[in-house]
Symmetry: C2
Subunit: 254 residues, 2 copies
DNA sequence: CGCCGCTTTGAGTCCATTCAATTCCGGTGG
DNA sequence: CCACCGGAATTGAATGGACTCAAAGCGGCG
């Protein structure tokens, strides 16, 4: 049984290899990875060890990089493209987050040598740097300068998930949407502009609702100065959006 | 303004002091804290430094130990009693978790020198060891043996919250309840027995539903062999419970 | 025994989802 | 350049699950 699972893993790995394209690390890429807070402090030699063991691959869109439940064998770094973290249970799928360059993901599973709790797939053609988990753990054990950044990374991720859990439990879908638009939008004068860089269905899943509900939520936001033009959202009353995001239950306007 | 806030903090602290009772550390307590995975590996001298800066307090039930939004000044260790982690937003409150001896809480906020994202209160009379955040950070910086356990603790907490988020987004209240009963129950022969060590309303809030819904969920679980007797829950078909917990959507029985 | 707080039950309402149909949009090929 | 196609997004109607409000049990403790 174990043997079969192992064989299956190998097959999967080879198939992925075939679908992907292994690239040599370019100096420029190494530099961007090196500049990540996670790696900024470690010694040159340890960083060299990590990069020596790592490899960079190019994946097409919609490639599943990580399968929830697998042993965490690599720390992934997204160098270019876009990655979705998600989870599947009894056929249902929910989006847990999105990753843009340059960031690492699933550090927790790698460090504690456990299985992944989430899956990951590319949403665009992407370049991913894969560092063997063992190399990460080795450097962690050897280089004390690595501990600080690792802890900061973990702690920040933890706090992010706590925020997500809170908003999931205490806010309505409309409020989560407002908060998302506000947090991620860019101010242009007195309007705020937010671009959704993926399908709206993904955003809906991330916010914990259906596409239809998201669509209706956008419609409701018209009362708050929001205009939707495809994947670009404008709001000419950012304060109204912020107020809603902070979950204003007192105001029952209509 | 700042001065007033500071004054307020001091008042709060003093009031807490008055409500609480400062205790001297007993050798026995020190030993239990020392045996925590988080502290097991650090050097004797560093541990001594931590304990020297720390103090143990006894709090009555329903005492708020941590106010969400405050700067994280202490790492708390629950030595005896029961603590609830919760969060408040626009008047609504949600329970995020429960802590029993012996465990630490809010390590993440302490390490990154940020504000607490959650509040904490005692649910029973409790003894809490409070270690100044700065002492924790100092030891972390000085003793490399501390890094591993810290990372393991953080990583596990992170994974726990991810699990909570997933179950919140993908499972029904009924399924979450089944999962909770199953995970926390004790096998006695072919029945499983679970004791709820706090108000059912707290459990409802933790599971993300109202008391009424929780009550109705218990009623529905009767079909799965569940009997409720006050705060003690029995199930004579643990497999049915487990199946439901794994979120069996396919089976539409009746 | 009687009070008080927690829990349960009931009834009605509301909001999100589901299912279904239509519109919108980008890309392709004639 | 335009017609067409398919996937995505929106809209509508109906369902259902969870919540709110209200009232009635239950249980522990003085």
């Amino acid at each position: 049984m174990i043997a079969f699972v192992f064989l299956f893993d190998i097959c999967q790995f080879l198939m992925q290899r075939m679908a992907a394209e292994t690239l040599t690390l370019r100096a420029e890429d190494i530099h961007t990875v090196r500049s990540l807070p996670l790696f900024a402090d470690i010694s040159e030699s340890q960083f060299g060890a990590l990069m020596g063991a790592a490899f960079l691959q190019r994946f097409p869109a919609q490639t599943q990089l990580i399968h929830e439940g697998d042993q965490a064998d690599f720390l992934h770094v997204i160098v270019e493209g876009m990655v979705e973290m998600f989870s599947t249970s009894n056929g249902e799928e929910t989006t847990i987050g999105f990753l843009e360059p340059v960031s690492t993901f699933i550090l927790a599973a790698v460090l504690v040598e456990k299985v992944y709790l989430q899956s990951a797939r590319t949403l665009e053609p992407s370049r991913i740097l894969m560092i063997p988990a063992q190399a990460i753990r080795d450097v962690f054990a050897r280089d004390p300068a690595f501990a600080g950044p690792v802890v900061r990374e973990l702690a920040e991720r933890y706090r992010e998930v706590v925020r997500q859990l809170k908003s999931q439990k205490m806010q309505s879908g409309l409020e989560r949407l407002a908060a998302w638009l506000f947090a991620r939008g860019e101010r242009r004068g007195d309007v705020i502009e937010t671009r959704i860089p993926f399908e709206k269905a993904k955003l809906a899943s991330f916010l914990g609702m259906t596409r239809e509900s998201l669509s209706r939520s956008f419609a409701s936001l018209a009362d708050h100065g929001v205009t939707v033009r495809g994947r670009v959202i404008f709001c000419n009353r950012p304060d109204a959006l912020a107020r809603l995001a902070r979950t204003e239950h007192s105001t029952h306007d209509h």
